[in-house]
């Protein structure tokens, strides 16, 4: 029983971390109908940035977050303004290809600069843990999870309460009408991608703090997780990614306990496909977005 509780607790905090990766991915997908295959690469870029700040300047990863977020926002803004906006009206596989190519460029640049070695940010507290009854919870993962929840709530508030957030939402619903209302769609798209990149960078920083990362296998795994979580949670609802992340995290850690080998991955994919077929709008997604997929 305590094993199950431990697995559930681990899955819960891991799910929060995964949700942080997915929330930006889901935002870009929902607003621009772009699947950003370079999302994992952007997260790892953030991780390297935080790692560099930590090892060379001695900045704590949690304090490095604003710097990482600002840098990643600028990078994301420029990528959208300079590249993705150029093919935004083309058939869907073009944006997939463009972001795939972009991911290759980013990751190989990182690999040339930092080599392909596994890296992690060492802190005195991240691997320390405290116990509730028999369940151990590491501080690092708990902090990452709390940050993920806080940022998701913040993003939801920005999206519903501010002028910028409403402009993003309006552009996502109907770009033509939004432009007629005087919204600069090019700028709004770039800001959206910038926010997504910043969130990816923060997620990367947290991944580097609680575990390790490298430029070869980490990015594709992160992009795939973001995919699954976005679909599970549904688009167009900021909290969807959080729900999807927690479901995936808990399912994977409990599944890992019950099933042998890597059957848990096969089950995860089966769940994904069944969810898509039965409820394409996700667990708590809105119908208006699922209606937009016919491009």
């Amino acid at each position: 029983m305590s094993q199950f509780l431990q697995a559930a607790a681990y899955g819960l905090v891991q799910g929060g971390l995964l949700a942080l990766v997915a929330v930006g991915f889901s935002l870009v997908w929902g607003v621009m109908n772009v699947i950003n295959l370079s999302h994992g690469a952007l997260a790892v870029t953030g991780a390297y940035l935080a790692w560099y700040l930590n090892t060379h300047l001695g900045i704590d990863p949690f304090l490095a977050i604003p710097i990482v977020a600002a840098c990643m926002f600028v990078l994301g803004y420029l990528i959208q303004r300079g590249l993705i906006n150029l093919v935004i009206n083309a058939p869907i596989f073009l944006t997939l290809l463009l972001t795939f190519g972009l991911g290759l460029v980013i990751l190989n640049t990182l690999q040339l600069v930092f080599t392909a070695d596994d890296r992690s940010i060492e802190t005195s507290y991240a691997s320390q843990s405290f116990a509730i009854l028999t369940v151990n919870i590491p501080y690092g993962r708990l902090g990452a999870c709390a940050l993920a929840v806080a940022l998701t709530v913040l993003l939801a508030l920005v999206m519903t309460r501010t002028r910028l957030g409403r402009a993003i939402g309006a552009t996502g619903m109907d770009r033509g009408a939004a432009r007629l209302m005087g919204i600069r769609a090019r700028h709004i798209y770039a800001v959206t991608f910038g926010i997504s990149a910043a969130l990816a960078g923060i997620a990367g920083t947290m991944i580097a703090t609680v575990g390790s990362f490298n430029p070869t296998s980490t990015p594709s795994q992160l992009t795939l997780d973001a995919f699954v979580i976005s679909v599970l949670g549904g688009l167009g609802n900021t909290y969807g990614a959080l729900a999807g992340g927690v479901v995936l995290g808990v399912a994977e850690s409990i599944g890992g306990l019950v099933l042998t080998g890597t059957w848990v991955n096969a089950i995860a994919m089966a769940v994904l496909i069944v969810t898509l077929v039965i409820r394409p709008s996700g667990l708590i997604g809105k119908a208006q977005y699922s209606g937009r997929v016919e491009v």
Binding site: L83, P91, L104, N108, R186, G261, I273, V277
Partner: protein, 362 residues
Amino acid sequence: MSNPTSAAPAAGALGVIMQRRARSRREILGEWIRSRTAANSWPALAGVAALLAMIGLQQLIEPGTQRLLTAVFLFVALAQAWNIIGGYTGYASFGHVAFFGIGAYTVAVLMNNYHVSFWAAMPIAVVIGVALAVGIGVPLMRLRGHYFAIATLGAAEGAREVINNLTPLTGGGGGITIPTFGDQAPTAYFGKPGFYIAFLVVAAASVAVAALLARSRLGFAMVALHQDEDAAAAVGINTTLVKVIAFGVSAAIVACVGAFYAFQQIEFYPTDVFDTNFTVLMVIMVVIGGSGTVLGPLVGAVGLELLAQYLRVNLGIYNQLVFGGIIVIVVVFFPQGVVTFFRDAWLTRQFSILDNVRRYRL
């Protein structure tokens, strides 16, 4: 959905799509011969000439170049197959590697565990590939756009995990080996020259299938439902059937290529034949060449595979970086594909690349 004036009930499902009028074979043949002109037969003649030239070329080149061209043929076949579902029908499958892997593993398991000849195992691999395509195609083809892409991606990942965990049958993560030596071998190994011819024939066959399909009623039905699925259904096309057939034909070619690939590799692991990069390369080659054309995937596959090999040999560690950069640049400058761009430019006499960039810009 059947048209009462033309469809013969006995012709079955395909007949409904093709809506073929009842005519005698001699009538059809005579009409076909009379309709041949230089303008409509040159692509077929050029194709046959290219095939013969490649067979002749084999005598002139060294084994290293032979292996390079074998890889090119493999990608030509894969790109043509993806184009049928992704280009003509407009359903971007991101799980095509599943059929490749299933084809490869069917052959390997049959040859290794049951000592079946390659020539018996290969058709079985194709049948299993098609069965899988129909099995996952019927539910998943209801999804559109990105959702279809992700569902197929998930299906491929799932297929890999199943193969990975069926250790008693497939050897699991430890890989599988096809016996090729002495009395152990169910079929003698083809060697480099043999595989050159084998992949050349598969590539030529896939080009021919794509070309014939593109000019058939089924091909027009595919293009129609790509442009507007509801309108296509309204004019009497059984859209589900057309989609599943397109998916099945595409999967059959990919499974066949996978079967030959398995025999060529002899030893491989689930991560090799279920590598997502195969799917991504198929998509890149088709889209950069020009999706929805016969020439596009051919140009894309030959161009990109030769480029990738050149970069690998000459740029060392920078090759992936440059390859990614080239993909980005080509996507931005030729969003509709190189072949489509030059065809349209030739027809309209509009050669400005800047105007072309403006086409899909926000």
